[in-house]
């Protein structure tokens, strides 16, 4: 294994650049280094002006998502040696406006997320619980994989529908809605339905499945969306066929 590798990093400085350009950095190639270690090496030793987001270095915070050689990846979980001998292209996540260098503006997602009410909703008539709401292991399994989402935006970056139509609610927001819809302690699925089953919600998804392919936490948002399509379609059928009292 060679002991150096080149990172071809996207630079964009809004005060001086009209469009993003690429800059190459030659860094040490160590077998235990992930792409993020390479970027930190650049920042610490070669070019302190490079901007990118990171925090936990262990696949929990969801901050360090970038496009590595054309694929959305968490850079803290992507080893440099997998791309040897390089060069490796490091670009900001696609489908989001670039703020600076590798930093993107995820405000669109942050505005969409609360619309699906991703929290436990209980009936307003109910008195506050005196003890915890119990849940069987099987009931927890129903939603557990959707609760693994770390909002890293790799799924939005990979989604070809979101690339064409930014009004699409998107994979993570829908998977997070399902995380609560499928929770036995939640009573809010009716409140989430209007947003989820709108034209910009689940119905915009054409089941390409890239979101699930790139998810670093194995969440399967595409599965969540397909499952919810069936729920919403059955609900629409019931509304059409059954009298009001029997729904």
């Amino acid at each position: 294994m060679a002991d150096r590798i080149t990172l071809r990093v996207t630079r964009y400085r809004p005060e001086s650049d009209t469009e993003p350009t690429a800059q190459e950095y030659d860094i040490p190639l160590r077998k235990e280094w992930v792409v993020l270690d390479g970027l930190n090496h650049i920042k610490d030793h070669l070019d302190g002006t490079l901007s990118y987001r990171w925090s936990c270095r262990m696949g929990v915070c969801g901050s360090c998502g970038m496009i590595v050689n054309g694929e959305p990846k968490l850079t803290c979980a992507t080893f440099l040696k997998e791309y040897a001998p390089g060069p490796i292209r490091i670009e900001p996540l696609s489908n989001f406006p670039i703020v600076r260098d590798l930093v993107v503006d995820i405000g669109d997602f942050m505005r969409k997320l609360p619309r699906v009410k991703p929290w436990l909703i209980r009936s307003e008539q109910e008195r506050p619980a005196k003890e915890e709401h119990l849940q069987l292991p099987a009931e927890r399994e129903e939603y557990e994989q959707f609760s693994m989402c770390i909002n890293c935006m790799l799924c939005y970056s990979a989604c070809p529908v979101y690339a064409l139509d930014q009004d699409f609610l998107g994979p993570a927001a829908i998977a997070l809605a399902q995380r609560y819809n499928l929770d036995s302690r939640d009573q809010g699925s009716a409140e989430r339905m209007d947003v989820l089953s709108s034209a910009d919600g689940i119905w915009a998804c054409t089941f390409v499945g890239e979101c699930s392919a790139v998810c670093p936490k194995d969440v399967d948002p595409a599965g969540a969306i397909q499952r919810y399509k069936f729920t919403a379609a059955m609900d629409a059928l019931k509304t059409l066929l059954l009298p009001r009292g029997a729904r």
Binding site: P160, T206, A236, L237
Partner: protein
């Protein structure tokens, strides 16, 4: 409307995946190549039975609506023609309806 179109798409995908390969294998390969030699009077009776005709009509209708939905999104997203949505919807679902009517005429009369 979208939930109902998706249900037709979804049902069409399932029945097509289950039935079309079997039918193609039987009537496209096995019978013409003589791998199986059926009793033709029996086969004719099975194919002429109203229940068979209704099942085949169901397959045709659902498969056509599956095509319509998929082709609509192929035009919307693949060719990025979403601004022509009215024409595309008319072409796709209208085509599926016309095809269904033709299948109905052939199978039920």
């Amino acid at each position: 409307m979208e939930p109902f179109l998706w249900l037709l798409f979804s049902a069409g995908g399932v029945v097509s995946a289950l039935l079309v390969p079997a039918l193609l294998f039987l009537f496209g390969l096995a019978l013409p190549l003589g791998w199986v030699t059926p009793d033709y009077t029996h086969l004719s009776a099975v194919l002429g039975h109203p229940a068979t005709r209704v099942v085949l009509l169901g397959l045709c209708v659902l498969a056509l609506f599956h095509w319509a939905h998929r082709f609509r999104y192929a035009l919307y997203d693949g060719l990025q023609l979403k601004h022509l949505d009215r024409v595309i919807n008319l072409l796709c679902y209208g085509g599926a309806l016309a095809g269904s009517a033709a299948a109905g005429l052939l199978l039920l009369t």
